[in-house]
Symmetry: C2
């Protein structure tokens, strides 16, 4: 038998990503999942735990996608460029792995759950830390002094967050290319 728990998580993620957490009710999720309410509550004893599950689900997909996008480049510079080219494909709905673009799930969820001590907010924070760590791995390979490593990593992260937000709010599908141009200019200075 198919894994109902997985189906519920995937369906919930799709709906949450499109409409936001508070805008999607349990009844909509079970209807879309074609699952009984009891089944959902058997696997997830509350909506909050289901939200956490969707965050873990998306975290896995996103990090895998990112690693794959940056791998197999012949230099760390090209790997960073490849990240923004991948973001560009995402914004333009050409990423099969990430699906249609509704902004960054973690940013959007964190905006709905701002309390720093909540489990949901911490899952969002944790995801962003891992993304930063991945970027930092490549920046470390650049032939630059240690003082600059954190600076470059921070800037890449800021440009990344900035272009995701701009693509969402401004519906500006060129935001990733703008960010890549800024990155390239920056890398010339080091």
């Amino acid at each position: 038998m198919v894994d109902k728990k997985q189906i519920i998580t995937q369906t919930a993620f799709k709906l949450f990503a499109q409409k936001g957490i508070h805008a999607v009710g349990i009844n909509e999720i079970i209807k879309e999942s074609k699952v009984a309410k009891k089944t959902l509550y058997h696997h997830f004893s509350s909506k909050e735990l289901l939200v956490i599950s969707t965050l873990e689900y998306r975290d896995d997909i996103f990090l895998t996608w990112m690693k794959q996008a940056m791998a197999k480049q012949t230099s760390p510079t090209l790997a960073l460029s490849a990240l923004f080219k991948a973001l560009d494909r995402w914004f333009n709905d050409k990423s099969v792995t990430l699906g249609a673009f509704y902004g960054c799930f973690f940013i959007n969820v964190a905006a709905e759950f701002k309390q720093q001590n909540s489990d949901i907010n911490q899952a969002c924070q944790q995801h962003k830390k891992q993304v930063r760590s991945l970027i930092n791995n490549y920046v470390n390979k650049l032939q630059i002094d240690n003082d600059n490593i954190d600076f470059i990593t921070d800037t890449v992260c800021l440009l990344k967050e900035g272009c995701i937000t701009t693509a969402l709010v401004q519906h500006d599908k060129s935001a990733a290319r703008q960010a890549e141009a800024a990155l390239n200019k920056l890398l010339l200075t080091i």
Copy 2:
């Protein structure tokens, strides 16, 4: 008599900014505003129109704050730096004008209302256009060729959006200083 309409808008904004639109009900707003439900619906015939009102209210405050932060600088470069120093004060809850930091209201609201054709989403977009226009005014004063003007403006906007998002999601209160450092590096290259 005090202007009830204004009180309702201000109270609604405060609650929406803290908790998000979908997480705040009309009953909570009237209770906090100390106003009858009929009074609210007399001034705003739907919750959506009230949301629009809070967006206009915040738009006015934010643009005034931004203009004031960048004015009276002795050079356009200093004006751009001043913007990020002002953002830094905001993130660290030292801005009286903007109040406690709960992220950018327009980004957060746009994340909850993603449909590009909705009035709420368009109000968020419009605000961001005005902010960009303000930044562009200063970039125009830099002694650079026309090709670079849009590039610099785009990059400043990306860094600004990036640091606001980072300050919110990562609870990183130094994000504006990171963005300013990146800006300064960038300005050295032109």
